[in-house]
């Protein structure tokens, strides 16, 4: 079963990448208020039960996929 992990910079923390990309997109005349850049990780987990898969994904996210000081994460079944 595949679980998607969305890892985004915490709101109060400076998103250096988002700031640069936003600047460029605006320069290109794109209509944009704000842009945030994070990571997307697809985990293929040998589980058929969504609950078990999500639990495994959560544990992986917490071990290595995200840094709680500067990021938040969300899981989704895909």
């Amino acid at each position: 079963m595949k679980i998607g992990v969305k890892v985004m910079p915490r709101k109060e923390i400076l998103d250096t990448q988002g700031r640069a990309v936003e600047g460029i997109l605006k320069q290109h005349g794109q209509k944009l208020e704000h842009c945030t850049v994070g990571k997307y990780i697809i985990l293929d987990i040998p589980e058929t039960d969504p609950k078990a898969a999500l639990a495994a994904a959560k544990s992986m996210a917490e071990t290595v996929l995200y840094n709680p000081l500067i990021e938040t994460f969300e899981l989704e079944q895909i």
Binding site: A20, V21, I24
Partner: protein, 220 residues
């Protein structure tokens, strides 16, 4: 004799611009700054350099944000007119992102920045840059990059081989580049690029002199 006029493109975050400026002066040519937000008249230049660095912080993908800047219109025009264009390190990444050169440069296979001296081999002669260094010659230059792993699809790789567009290869692959590729050129050869830094090997005190020839211009 008129000095060769060499345009040096600066993006926000370019950091080898002054080094390339110094190199161009060292070979007796005339360096001229070109600003990312402006276009320039291509035919007024004898060659164009895209120096290394971290244009736009290397955010998103190395070279991606710079490759969309206004100055790249003029660089493209220069390339089409046959004016020699050389990309070094981040300049290489920008030229591939702009699709002026084939392939892509992705994260080093060991996922770390790597600073070292590397041995190189000229796989083909490029008459526009380092023309004196013929096919089969060896050279030693510094590398310093995190995203230097060259990648192209197999069919494209074959085309590059057939058309003699593979310029330089590493003797010992420092980043996982496909077929050890360190530098490539377009079909005509006037657009060329490499990951190593010739501007950091201009005189003995820098630790090597093999970079000098890259700035001397068309010697044929």
């Amino acid at each position: 004799m008129m000095k060769r006029k060499c345009g040096i493109v600066r993006f926000p975050g370019t950091n080898c611009d002054r080094d390339v400026f110094q190199a161009v002066e060292m070979v007796g040519a005339e360096p001229v700054w070109l600003w990312h937000a402006d276009q320039f008249i291509a035919k007024e230049y004898d060659s164009i350099f895209l120096p290394g660095g971290f244009s736009y912080g290397d955010y998103l993908r190395s070279g991606a944000l710079a490759s969309r800047a206004p100055v790249m219109k003029s660089v493209r025009e220069a390339a089409e007119r046959g004016i020699p264009v050389l990309g070094i390190c981040n300049g290489f990444q920008i030229l591939t992102e702009a699709q002026l050169l084939p392939g892509s440069l992705i994260r080093n296979n060991h996922l770390r920045f790597n600073d070292d001296w590397v041995g190189l081999k000229f796989q083909n002669t490029n008459r526009f840059f380092a023309g004196a260094l013929r096919k089969g010659t060896n050279a030693k230059l510094p590398v310093a990059h995190g995203d230097g792993r060259y990648f192209v699809e197999d069919d494209e790789l074959k085309r590059l081989q057939d058309k003699g567009q593979i310029w330089l290869t590493y003797e010992q692959n420092p980043n996982g580049s496909i077929n050890d590729i360190a530098g490539v050129m377009n079909e005509k050869g006037n657009v060329a690029a490499l990951m190593p830094h010739p501007e950091r090997a201009m005189t003995e005190w820098m630790g090597g002199v093999d970079g000098f020839k890259f700035f001397e211009g068309d010697l044929t």
